[in-house]
């Protein structure tokens, strides 16, 4: 286990110190974007399409403009004058900012009403008359490639059908051959439905352009403010928005989870409106706008897993259909269109794998948000973990035993996966054993046998996942060519206190505390003496933001490296102060001392003071350091989750009795915060497993676009989570840490699905897609009974 090097007062790594950022939130003094109020501020409300696919014959602004307080109605034609009606996506596709002639999904932005206040703007939006000519929407992605499907993107040169791209990785022939030759092959079509991050704060911004200074200040709910600034400069440079004159400030964010990475059209329209009007313009989504205009997942995966008759896995193949909506606006900063999906070979050692994917256009909202997942890892893990359980059921082997027999062994790390990843470290056997001990696996197996004998439905589900996080090595990741490093800048003041700034952006992860703890660990300055800042592009060093569990792998590493630069400088200063050679100086947390004479020492605070007052001749004064960290590899957090459920046959009701999560995220900076992240991720795991999913009808209407019907779990649906850890440090990270916040979101759904399906297995049910609701279970039971 990890042993703390610092005292609780210093609060370095491993201490569950309480969060420094709490005070403002507990007293209502958080600074969220809707709290911004600038002099002369106007409000923008968007008119959105009621149709999934329609021609716009005309937009009549008159009635809206007649309302006192409505100042402008901005349409696609207004933006077209500045060539701002379309914008590029990260995946080299194009997205409408505002349409000139066609709307491609329900709730797409049609025009924007600018008014003196929110209420008037809403009235204005109600009063705008749009003349639509509805067209037959393409909703079913399986029909997107049919010969008679409408061509949704004729605007794209050379686009002959609705395919966006085909991607593949691995060896098709060898995998097919291994599957053909195998004793046992299990197959399943697994769908991971469209879901939404549904952070309690929606998205929004306040754009404020000063025509005199030509400066654009934007307060924005952005997880990646620096990237937004650069993108804005690239897409709007031609109208005069130059990067040094753009300042993005991401203040407190009310939950991100990936949903606040993309550039939504609303941001661009608000910025354009402020640019044109020269006044601050606020745009805040309402809940329905938020829920209907973005998504995560939506992968249909045809999986085949091959094994010997006694369950040694030999090959895995997955062919996926991805529904991207009308444009590929995936918030995916990797060099691969499917992100990290090729982690789908899982925690198991076998030779052959092949993954391919076809992405198609439909008349749905664009997106492809990396929802608390390092982009498509959730889909990948669900596929392999469901299939491993299906294999276990097929050959009649305990799913834990099957996993033990196939795990990559501790001594095999670094492990080269069949699809090309180099797993850094793990001890999968130990992690699963710990989970089984904690939940009492053997006892539950006995109880299950007894219950089954009585005709009761009880299930035990396991998921032993491997994640791939920490975007990233610049060889795998960039945003518009910008390498995915991250940064830390430390200023130690003369009195030994410090200010550190980062290129990442906290949204509840507690960076103001954990980054301070890393610096406390490295420098011995108490974490309470270190102020952490992020989110302001004018002050923070350049970085790519917080998502994909990348902050610990990148910015935390940068913090350690920058601190080590300071420590090296401090050593020279200490040698100068102690009048010995630098080679005679040793370091222990918080102080330099003369080797063999520990009483001759200088504290870090004394050294910091000397850096401004009494530094060696020729040395650059000051005590500051900056580091940009480009990680050599991804990190591979992993875990073993076990879920126990009971299902009532008569009603389909599902009772989650227990859920144990053992995570291995390497060395831990703050155990309290890590545990909190795991709790939250688990609730965001049970959500899609049992409750959430965006539902469309045949016309492309979203049927559950409010929180009345999009079922975010409450404290009642959320089980009492039980958590624990194993620690296998990352060998390549300066702190041995890995990143954790996404593991539970990735690992929980298959554990829950496996448990429910295990419960139903005596009835002959082999698979159910999530969300697995009582209604769905009941239907499946009726079908199974009819068959039997």
């Amino acid at each position: 286990m990890f042993k703390c090097k610092t005292s609780p007062e210093v609060g370095g790594m491993g201490h569950s110190v309480k969060r420094k950022e709490d005070a403002r939130f507990l007293h209502g003094k958080g600074n969220y974007v809707d709290d911004v109020k600038l002099p002369g501020q106007l409000t923008m409300v968007l008119v959105r399409s009621p149709y999934a696919y329609a021609k716009i014959k005309g937009i009549n602004k008159e009635k809206a403009l007649a309302i006192p307080g409505v100042l402008a109605v901005i349409t696609g034609y207004d933006l077209k004058e500045f060539n701002l009606h379309w914008m590029p996506t990260l995946l080299s596709d194009t997205q409408m900012v505002l349409p000139t002639d066609t709307v491609m999904h329900q709730s797409q932005e049609v025009c924007a009403v600018i008014a003196t206040d929110r209420y008037i703007a809403v009235d204005g939006a109600e009063a705008v008359e749009v003349d639509y000519e509805p067209m037959k929407a393409l909703v079913d992605p399986w029909k997107a490639l049919d010969a008679d499907a409408p061509l949704l993107r004729p605007d794209k040169e050379g686009q002959k059908d609705n395919q966006i791209y085909h991607w593949e990785r691995g060896e098709r022939e060898k995998t097919d051959a291994a599957i053909a030759a195998a004793d046992v092959v299990v197959k399943e079509r697994i769908y991971l439905p469209r879901i939404h991050v549904a952070s309690i704060e929606t998205c929004g911004c306040v754009a404020s352009y000063d025509k005199d200074t030509q400066k654009m200040l934007v307060y924005m709910t952005s997880q990646a403010p620096h990237a937004i600034r650069t993108i804005l400069a690239l897409v709007a440079g031609h109208v005069g928005l130059s990067e040094e004159k753009i300042r993005i400030i991401a203040q407190d964010i009310g939950g991100g989870f990936g949903g606040k990475v993309p550039v939504y059209p609303g941001y661009v329209i608000a910025i354009a409106a402020s640019f044109l009007i020269g006044k601050p313009v606020k745009w805040i989504e309402d809940r329905s706008e938020n829920l209907v205009n973005g998504f995560a997942r939506d992968y249909h995966m045809d999986c085949e897993l091959a094994a010997t008759k006694d369950g040694k896995i030999q090959a895995f193949k997955v062919s996926t259909l991805a529904d991207h909506g009308y444009t590929d606006s995936s918030a995916n900063p990797s060099k691969y269109p499917t992100g990290m999906f090729s982690i789908c070979t899982g925690s198991y050692d076998y030779e052959h794998a092949f993954a391919e994917l076809d992405a198609v256009y439909t008349n749905k909202a664009p997106g492809g948000v990396a929802y608390r997942c390092s982009f498509r890892v959730t889909e990948a893990v669900h596929a392999i973990e469901r299939m491993v359980d299906k294999l276990a059921a097929k050959i009649g082997k305990d799913p834990a035993q099957l996993r033990f027999e196939n795990f990559i062994k501790k001594e095999q790390f670094p492990y080269e996966s069949p699809l090309g990843w180099s797993y850094d470290s793990g001890d999968y056997k130990q992690t699963l054993e710990k989970a089984m001990d904690m939940i009492g696996y053997d006892d539950y197996k006995k109880e299950q046998a007894e219950k089954r004998a009585q005709g009761k439905l009880m299930g035990i589900g396991i998921c032993t996942f491997t994640e791939v996080v920490g975007a990233g090595p610049s060889k795998d990741f960039d945003i518009l060519g910008i390498a995915m490093f991250d940064s830390a800048e430390i200023r130690v003041h003369p009195t030994g206190k410090a200010l550190a700034r980062f290129g990442t952006k906290t949204q509840g992860q507690g960076h103001e505390t954990t980054y301070a703890q890393i610096l406390a660990e490295e420098l011995g300055i108490p974490y309470t003496d270190i102020q952490i800042e992020d989110g302001d592009t004018d002050t923070a060093p350049y970085g790519l933001g917080t998502y994909g569990s990348r902050s610990t792998p990148t910015a935390a590493a940068a913090a350690a490296m920058a601190a080590r630069k300071l420590r090296a400088k401090g050593k020279k200063i200490a040698a100068h102060l102690l009048e010995v050679s630098e080679d005679d100086i040793d370091w222990e947390v918080g102080k330099y001392f003369v080797k063999g004479a520990p009483e001759k020492c200088k504290t870090i605070q004394e050294v910091a003071f000397a850096a401004y007052t009494n530094f060696p001749a020729g040395m650059e004064p000051g005590f500051e350091a900056t580091h940009y960290y480009d990680p050599p590899n991804m990190t591979f957090p992993n875990g073993a989750y076990i879920c126990v459920v009971e299902v009532e046959e008569e009603t389909g009701a599902i009772d989650v009795k227990r859920f144990v999560a053992i995570d291995d995220c390497g060395n831990i900076i703050n155990p309290m915060i890590v545990e909190g992240q795991v709790h939250g991720g688990l609730t965001q795991g049970i959500a899609p497993a049992m409750y959430e999913g965006i539902v469309y009808d045949d016309e492309g209407n979203v049927l559950n676009g409010t929180l009345m019907d999009y079922l975010v779990p409450t404290a009642v649906e959320s089980p009492h989570w039980e958590t624990g850890h194993t620690i296998t440090p990352s060998p390549h990270h300066p702190l041995g840490a890995k990143g954790v916040a996404e593991s539970p979101t990735v690992g929980a759904p298959p554990a829950i699905a496996n448990a429910i399906i295990d419960a139903l297995s005596p009835l002959g049910i082999e698979h159910l897609d999530i969300p697995i609701t009582p209604a769905k279970v009941w239907e499946a039971i009726q079908v199974a009974k009819a068959k039997a």
Partner: protein, 289 residues
């Protein structure tokens, strides 16, 4: 989500409310707790020109037994009912329902009168009122009227109340010895409207024969529904498992659910069957205590 413009009027007496409503005409709507009406106004599904706030009328918030009746003032909030000692002791069916209705902050504002007057088959109280054979007391231009619950719900969001009528009191036959009631709904998550709900009120004589029975169903029909055929099976009978099973079957046949996001018609019929039986048993258990 912002409501369209309207004019707000506060009234301090029932008579004032009725007079104002008459004066303002059809475009005026009463608001009590507001938790049914205001959300519809925010979504602009409802755009009344006038809102008459009746929540400040004094004296309409009470829970008491008087003569043969339990009387609940229409402005009594769900929270007041939830914590009321009399209801806890003698009318636990009300607590069953309130616990499952929306959430505590909404229940702090939402009233029993509003829950019923809205005429929404998805609300929980209508089924209870049907089961308990309640009478709705309203005041209107032609004075006070007592409307038996069977004549109250007219259609989708439509009730026997005239536009100017103010619902002032719910009257429920006082709980008799050997009587009991129970309510449950299946919901997708806590606070959701019912996928299906069943309210049962039963009265037994000393020999255990069912003297009176009321069964109401939630959100499985366009109009709050009483299960009359099911009641007939039990009335005057000694209640057996077999009869309970028959009533469950009848409930699943007579309800009129539609397939939607909450489940298929078949699923809803099936759970109506199950929870009807369960609530009959729970009500019986309470009646026998």
């Amino acid at each position: 989500m912002i409501p369209a413009n309207f004019n707000y009027h506060k009234v301090s007496s029932v008579n004032e409310a009725i007079a104002l409503s008459q004066k303002l005409g059809e475009e005026a709507k009463y608001m009590s707790g507001g938790h049914s009406l205001l959300p519809m106004m925010k979504l602009r599904f409802a755009t009344p020109e006038h809102i008459i706030d009746i929540s400040k009328i004094e004296g309409l918030s009470y829970i008491k037994e008087e003569g043969d009746l339990l009387k609940i003032g229409a402005m009594t909030t769900q929270t007041e009912m939830e914590h009321n000692a009399l209801l806890k002791e003698k009318y636990p069916i009300l607590g069953d329902a309130i616990w499952l209705t929306a959430d505590p902050s909404v229940r702090n504002v939402g009233t029993i009168g509003g829950n019923i007057a809205h005429g929404d088959a998805a609300n929980d109280q209508p089924a209870l009122m049907l089961a308990m054979r309640a009478t709705v007391v309203a005041e209107g231009t032609d004075g006070t009227k007592s409307i038996p619950i069977d004549e109250f719900f007219h259609g989708f969001y439509m009730t026997a109340l005239e536009p100017s009528d103010v619902l002032i009191e719910i009257q429920i036959p006082k709980a008799k010895k050997s009587s009991g009631g129970a309510y449950v709904k299946i919901e997708r998550k806590v606070g959701d409207y019912a996928t299906a709900g069943v309210a049962v009120h039963i009265e037994l004589d000393d020999s255990g024969v069912c003297q009176q029975i009321g069964i109401g169903l939630t959100n499985v029909s366009a109009v709050p529904m009483r299960l009359e055929r099911g009641e007939e099976i039990l009335r005057g009978q000694k209640v057996t498992d077999d009869l309970i099973a028959q009533v469950g079957q009848v409930a699943s046949e007579d309800c009129e659910p539609e397939s939607d996001l909450r489940g298929s018609e078949a699923y809803k019929r099936s759970i109506v069957n199950t929870i009807t039986k369960r609530m009959l048993n729970k009500a019986l258990e309470r009646a026998r205590q």
